[in-house]
C-alpha cells in the first residue's frame, strides 16, 4: 500500500470540501478500498475518514418511504426490523453477500461504489484494462471470461458489477441521495450505475466531489412476494455468477406487477423489463415462467467461457419467481 495522509471528517461539508482534491478518497468500511489499495489498483494520496459523520441511521419518512444513512452497515441494514418486514428482498440480498465480518464493516454507500472483481482490473500485473487504465484495452474479451458480462457490455469492457445489495435496491426503485458543494442530488438506482460504453473507468454517475449521504426506498408492493436468489461457485462467501431479485404483486393467482433484476451479468444491475412484461396479467404457470425466463436474457451476448450464464440466468429467473410466489 502506498503512503497517504489521513484526515477525519467531523462534518459532511468537511468531507465534501476534502473531495476537491482529485487524489482524495472517502474511507468508510474500507473493505473494498483498502483491498484495492493493497493491490495498487487505487493509490489515493489522502483518505478522508467519514465514519464519524452522522449518517448511520434508518428513518421512516412521513410519505411511507425509508431513509437509510450511507454509513449504516450492511449487517445493521439487513437486520433492521423495518427492513426485514417491508423489504425482505433487500435483507436477503444483503446477507447473501460477503461474510459476516465484512458485512459488519461494509457501509451502504461503499457497497454502492463497489468495484468489479474482473481479474484483469484487480491485478495491476495485467497491462490491459480500460477501467483501470483508460485506452489500454480489455484483456478479458480474449482472456479468462467465465465470470464476465453477457448483457450490456462493450468492446471496451465486459466487467460485471459485484454487489448483491444493489440488485435488490434496483428492484425496489431506490434513490441515491448525494451531496456536493452546491446542494443535494437524487439519482434513481436505474441511472446510478453506468453501462461501460466507451468510458468504463466510470462505474457510476456520482461525481468525484459528491458524497453519498443516503439511500431512499419508496414503499414497496413486493414485501409479501419477493425472493433473492444467488448462484455461485461455492455455497457462501463468494460473488454471484448470476443472481436474481424478483418481486411480485399478486392479484389472486395473476401477476399485477413484477420486478426482475439480474446481478452478475452486466456492468450494472440488469433490469429485465421484457421478463416483467411477460408476467403481468398472467398466472405463474410453467408456460408463463418459461416465457419470462427467455425474455430475461434477450440480447445476451456471451463470451468464450461464459455461455453457461445465459441458461443459468434463465433458470434462476424461473426459480426466483416460483420462490417469490410461494413466499
Amino acid at each position: 500500500m502506498r503512503a497517504f495522509d489521513y484526515v477525519r471528517a467531523e462534518r459532511v461539508d468537511d468531507a465534501i470540501a476534502a473531495l476537491a482534491d482529485p487524489n482524495a478518497r472517502c474511507l468508510a468500511g474500507g473493505t473494498n478500498l483498502l483491498d484495492l489499495m493493497k493491490g495498487y489498483v487505487e493509490q489515493p494520496t489522502r483518505l478522508v475518514d467519514i465514519t464519524r459523520l452522522p449518517l448511520a441511521s434508518i428513518e421512516p419518512a412521513a410519505d411511507g418511504s425509508l431513509r437509510i444513512g450511507a454509513l449504516v452497515s450492511n449487517t445493521d441494514l439487513a437486520n433492521a426490523p423495518i427492513v426485514r418486514e417491508r423489504y425482505p428482498l433487500l435483507a436477503q440480498a444483503l446477507v447473501s453477500g460477503a461474510s459476516p465480518q465484512l458485512r459488519n464493516m461494509a457501509s451502504v454507500g461503499g457497497n454502492l461504489l463497489q468495484r468489479t472483481r474482473c481479474h484483469y482490473f484487480v491485478d495491476v500485473g495485467f497491462d490491459m484494462c480500460n477501467k483501470r487504465k483508460p485506452g489500454s484495452g480489455c484483456a478479458a474479451r480474449e482472456g479468462s471470461n467465465r465470470i464476465h458480462a453477457i448483457l450490456g457490455a462493450s468492446d471496451h469492457c465486459i466487467a460485471v458489477h459485484p454487489s448483491d445489495m444493489c440488485v435488490a435496491l434496483a428492484a425496489l426503485d431506490a434513490v441515491v441521495e448525494a451531496r456536493n458543494g452546491a446542494g443535494v442530488r437524487r439519482i434513481p438506482m436505474s441511472e446510478f450505475h453506468r453501462l461501460p460504453g466507451t468510458a468504463p473507468e466510470r462505474d457510476t454517475e456520482l461525481r468525484h466531489d459528491e458524497l453519498i449521504t443516503a439511500v431512499i426506498l419508496p414503499p414497496s408492493p413486493f414485501a409479501d412476494h419477493s425472493h433473492y436468489l444467488k448462484v455461485r461457485d461455492r455455497a457462501s462467501y463468494e460473488f454471484a455468477l448470476v443472481s436474481v431479485a424478483a418481486g411480485l404483486e399478486m392479484d389472486g393467482k395473476r401477476v399485477r406487477d413484477a420486478r426482475i433484476v439480474l446481478g452478475g451479468v452486466a456492468h450494472r444491475p440488469w433490469r429485465a423489463s421484457g421478463a416483467e412484461r411477460a408476467l403481468v396479467g398472467h398466472a405463474l404457470d410453467d408456460d408463463t415462467l418459461a416465457k419470462a425466463a427467455l425474455a430475461a436474457t434477450e440480447g445476451a451476448r456471451p463470451y468464450r467461457d461464459n455461455a453457461f450464464k445465459v441458461t443459468l440466468a434463465q433458470r434462476a429467473v424461473a426459480r426466483a419467481l416460483r420462490e417469490a410466489a410461494s413466499a
Partner: protein
C-alpha cells in the same frame, strides 16, 4: 496424547500468553519497542510527506496501548508488529480468509481491511483477551474438546468469529440460510446456520466438522 494432557498443554500455553500479555501491559505507558524502532528508522518521514507516522492509542483487551504508526498500518499489523499480540493471524491479508478476525465494540471484523488509526476510542478484543486468568472462554474449551483445529493457524480467527457469531444470534440476526427473514424471534442455530454464519473463516486443514461440533456443545451448555 489423551484429552487431559491436551488440556494441560493448552493451560500451559495459556499461562505463557498471560505472561506475555503482562509484559506488554507494563510497556503500555511508553511507546512499545517495535514502534519506537520503526519510528527511529524513518526520522525524515515524521517531519514531512504524506503518511507520516502518528501517535495512536488503542484499547486492546482492556489495556491502553500507545503506538506510533503510519496511517497505512492496518489494525492487524498494529496488533502483531507494534503491540506484540501475535495471536491474531495474518492469512490472506485481503479479507478472504478470516484468520485476522477480532472483535471491535463486540462486533467481529477483519483486522486486515481496517486502519489502526481509525480505531481510536474503540474497544478491541483479540483472542488473547477471551479467557480469564483461570479459565478458557467456553468457545476455546469446546474447540479443544472437539478438535476444532489441526494446524491451528485459523483458530484464533475462528474462535473470535464464533464469539461474535453467538452474540449476533442472541440479537436475532438473519443469515443467508434463514428461511423467512420476516419472522422474528430467537434464532435456532442449526448446523446449516452455524456453517453459514461461520463461512467467513476458512480452514485449510478442514476442521469444519470439529468446529461445528464445538459450537453445538457451547450452545447446548448455554441453553
Amino acid at each position: 496424547m489423551d484429552r487431559r494432557s491436551l488440556s494441560a498443554e493448552g493451560a500451559a500455553r495459556r499461562r505463557f500468553l498471560c505472561g506475555t500479555g503482562a509484559l506488554t501491559t507494563t510497556l503500555a505507558h511508553v511507546p512499545p519497542l517495535i514502534a519506537a524502532d520503526n519510528n527511529a528508522s524513518t526520522p525524515t518521514r515524521e517531519a514531512r510527506g504524506p503518511g507520516a507516522p502518528r501517535h495512536v492509542r488503542l484499547d486492546v483487551n482492556g489495556y491502553p496501548y500507545d503506538v506510533v504508526v503510519e496511517p497505512r498500518v492496518t489494525l492487524l499489523d498494529a496488533l502483531r508488529e507494534y503491540i506484540g499480540l501475535t495471536g491474531t493471524k495474518k492469512g490472506c491479508d485481503r479479507g478472504q480468509c478470516g484468520a485476522c478476525t477480532v472483535l471491535v465494540n463486540d462486533r467481529r471484523i477483519n483486522a486486515c481491511l481496517t486502519l489502526a488509526i481509525a480505531h481510536e476510542g474503540d474497544r478491541i478484543r483479540t483472542v488473547e483477551g477471551l479467557a480469564t486468568a483461570n479459565a478458557l472462554h467456553p468457545v476455546q474449551a469446546a474447540f479443544i474438546a472437539h478438535d476444532g483445529f489441526q494446524c491451528g493457524y485459523c483458530t484464533p480467527g475462528q474462535i473470535c468469529s464464533a464469539v461474535g457469531m453467538l452474540d449476533e444470534a442472541r440479537r436475532d440476526t438473519i443469515s443467508a440460510v434463514t428461511r423467512d427473514v420476516r419472522r422474528r424471534g430467537p434464532v435456532e442455530l442449526t448446523d446449516d446456520e452455524i456453517r453459514e454464519r461461520m463461512s467467513g473463516n476458512l480452514c485449510r486443514c478442514g476442521a469444519y466438522v470439529g468446529i461445528v461440533d464445538a459450537l453445538r456443545e457451547v450452545l447446548k451448555k448455554s441453553a
